[in-house]
Amino acid sequence: MTPTESPPTLSEYRQREQSIAPVENLIERSGGETSEELLTLNFGPHHPATHGVLRLLVTLQGEVVRDLKPIIGYVHTGIEKTAEDKAYWKVIPIVERMDYLSYYFNAMAYCGAVETLAEVQVPKRAQYLRVIHLELNRIASHLIWLGTSVLDLGATSIFLYCLRERELILDLFEMSSGARMHTRYFQVGGVIEDIPTGFAAKLREFLKIMPKRADEYGAILNANEIVLQRLRGTCPLDAQTLLSLGVTGPLLRAAGNPWDLRKATPYSSYDDFAFKIPVGTVGDNYDRYAVRLAEIYESVKIIEQALDGLPEGPYITEDRKVALPPRHELATSMEALIHHFKLVTEGFRVPPGEVYNPIESPRGELACYVRSDGSSKPARVHMRDPSFVNLQALSHMTRGSYIADLIATTAMLDPILGGIDR
C-alpha cells in the first residue's frame, strides 16, 4: 500500500494501519446487513498464554471479542475448609499457598487478623522485618509478572532476566527463613526468627543492583515498538467502572485513582517510610505495565529505609500465650515449658469474634476474614483475593478489542489462579 499524505514522522506501518477501517464501519458500509457469525472459542484451561489454569469462553465476531466469560475452579484446593480444621498456628502455611506469588502477603493478612482478634502487639523490629520481606515479595511478584507477560508478547529474554533477579530475592528468603517459597516466616505476633548475620549486607547489595536492572528492563521495553503497539491504547477502562467492579491495586492506580492501603490505612509501620504511589492516566495496558514497573523502584526505597532504621528489640511478641518461648528458657523456666507444651499440642485460644483485615498485595486489596468461636481452631477463614475480584473486569476491558489484545490484557491483569480459586 502506498503511504498516504500523512506527516512524514509516522512510520509506514502506522500509515497503513490508519487506512484500515474499524469493524463498525465495515458493517455500516455493507448496507447494514450483518453477515456476522458469532463464534464461541474456548481458551481452555491448558493454554500457553493463560496465566495458570484459567478458562475463557470468548465470543468472537471475526477477530473482535464481543463477550467473554471466565470459568474458574480448576485449582480449587479447599484452602478455607482445610484452615477450619487446623490450629491457628498451623493455618499459616495453608493460607500462604493461596496466592502463590505473594505468600508473605497471605500470611500477613491472616496474622494481622488473628493479632487483632487476640489483641497481640507486634514489636517494632518485627514490623520492620515484615515490611522488608513484604516489599521483597512485591518485587519478586512483579518480576514474575513482567517476565511472563512480555513472554506472552514474544519477548523471551526478559523472562530469563527477571528470573535472574528473582533468584537473588529467593536467596535472601532462604537466608532468613530456610525456604525459597512458602516460608512460614510470619507468625502470629511477629516473625519466626531474627535475620542472620550477612542478611543485611546481601540485601544492600541487592538493593544496589535492582534499580539498575529495572532501568535495563525499562530501556528494553518502554519505547519498544512492539510493546507500544500491543499495549498503548489497548483495552482501557475508566476508574469509575473499575470501582464498581471492585478492582483495586495497580489496575485501579493505572486508571488514575491513587488508592493504596499502605498510605490510606497504614499497617505494620508503613507510615514510617516515605514512598510514592505511581499512578497512570489513561488506564490502558501500557499504564498498567508502567505502574507496576515503577512500583519496583518504590519498593526498593521502602526496603532501604526499613533496613536503615531497623530497631533493636524482640522479633516476636513476648506474650507467651501466643508465641513460643525461646529455647534456652525451656531449660530453666517451668512456665516456659508449660507454655511451649500447650502451644505445640493444642495451640493458643482466641477470644470469639470476627475480624476483616485488609492489606495491599501486589494485585490489590488482599484481606483475611477470620471468625473465631473461642476454641483453638478458627471457625471461618476467608481470604478476599484481589485477582478473584479483578477477573470480573476482564470482560469489560476486552469488549470490542482483538484477540491479541485479549492476550495482552490477561497478562496485564496479573491473575494468579491460586488466589482466584483458593
Binding site: 491448558h46 479447599g78 482445610t82 514474575i144 528470573l163 533468584e167 517459597m181 491460586g418 480459586d421
Partner: protein, 228 residues
C-alpha cells in the same frame, strides 16, 4: 577415578605445536580398545585382550561389540537426552519450574528447554501443582493426547500424594494417570526437580534407580503386614 594423563607420543622430527602433531593412530586404536578394561580395573595382558588381536580377529571383535550396543539402546539414549516437556504449570510448583528453566539451574544444559505448547508435540508432562477434581479429567485428556513414548513427572507433594491439603477438592495424580517419577517438596527446589528429571532420564536409558534400599544396603527393612 584417577585419570592418567600421558603425553601423546610424537613421531621423530615433528614439530611441537599441538593440533598439527600427527598422533600415532595405532596407539590410539589400542587405547580405545583397552579403555573398558582399564575402567573396570581389569587385566590388560591376558590372552583375550583386544590389544593382542590383529586383522580379521580384531574386526570380528569390534563387530560383536557393535551389535550388542543395539538399536534400542541408541534410541533410548537419544530419547532420554531430548525430552520435550509440556509447558504445564498448575500452581506454586510452576514458579519453581520456571526457575528450573531459568539461568541458574539451567534445564537447557541437559537439552530439555524446548517446552512445547501442544501435547501432541511433547513427550514429558510435568504436573507442577495441585490437581483439583475439576482439572483431573482435563489432565487425563492431555495425557491421552500425547504420543507414545511418553512419561509423566509428578512435581510437588500435592500431586504426588495429597500434599499439604488432605481434603475434598484434590486428587493425587496416581489415581487417574500413570506417573513415572514423583518429586517431593512443597515446592521442590529447582535442583530437586532437576534430580527428578535426571532420574527419569536414567529410567529411560534402561538403567533405572532401584531405590534407596539398594544404595544403602537396607534390604530387609521393609514394613510387612505379618511383622505388625
Amino acid at each position: 577415578m584417577e585419570v592418567k594423563r600421558e603425553p601423546i607420543r610424537r613421531r621423530e622430527g615433528s614439530s611441537l605445536s599441538a593440533g598439527t602433531v600427527p598422533v600415532d593412530a595405532e596407539l590410539l586404536r589400542v587405547r580405545r580398545l583397552n579403555a573398558p578394561q582399564l575402567l573396570r580395573g581389569g587385566d590388560l595382558q591376558g590372552p583375550n585382550q583386544p590389544a593382542h588381536l590383529e586383522g580379521t580377529e580384531l574386526e570380528r571383535y569390534v563387530e560383536e561389540r557393535m551389535l550388542t550396543t543395539t538399536l534400542d539402546k541408541a534410541v533410548a539414549w537419544a530419547r532420554s537426552n531430548s525430552f520435550f516437556p509440556l509447558g504445564f504449570g498448575l500452581a506454586c510448583c510452576a514458579m519453581e519450574q520456571f526457575h528450573t528453566a531459568g539461568a541458574r539451574m539451567d534445564i537447557a544444559r541437559f537439552g530439555f528447554e524446548a517446552f512445547r505448547a501442544s501435547p501432541r508435540q511433547a513427550d514429558l508432562i510435568i504436573l507442577a501443582g495441585r490437581v483439583s477434581i475439576k482439572m483431573a479429567p482435563i489432565i487425563r485428556r492431555l495425557y491421552d493426547q500425547m504420543l507414545e513414548p511418553k512419561w509423566a513427572i509428578s512435581m510437588g507433594a500435592c500431586c504426588s500424594s495429597m500434599g499439604v491439603f488432605n481434603n475434598y477438592a484434590l486428587v493425587p495424580a496416581d489415581k487417574f494417570m500413570p506417573i513415572d517419577v514423583h518429586v517431593p517438596g512443597c515446592p521442590p527446589r529447582p535442583e530437586a526437580l532437576m534430580h527428578g528429571i535426571l532420574k527419569l532420564r536414567k529410567l529411560v536409558q534402561d538403567d533405572p534407580d532401584m531405590g534407596w534400599r539398594e544404595r544403602y544396603g537396607a534390604v530387609g527393612t521393609e514394613e510387612r503386614p505379618e511383622d505388625a
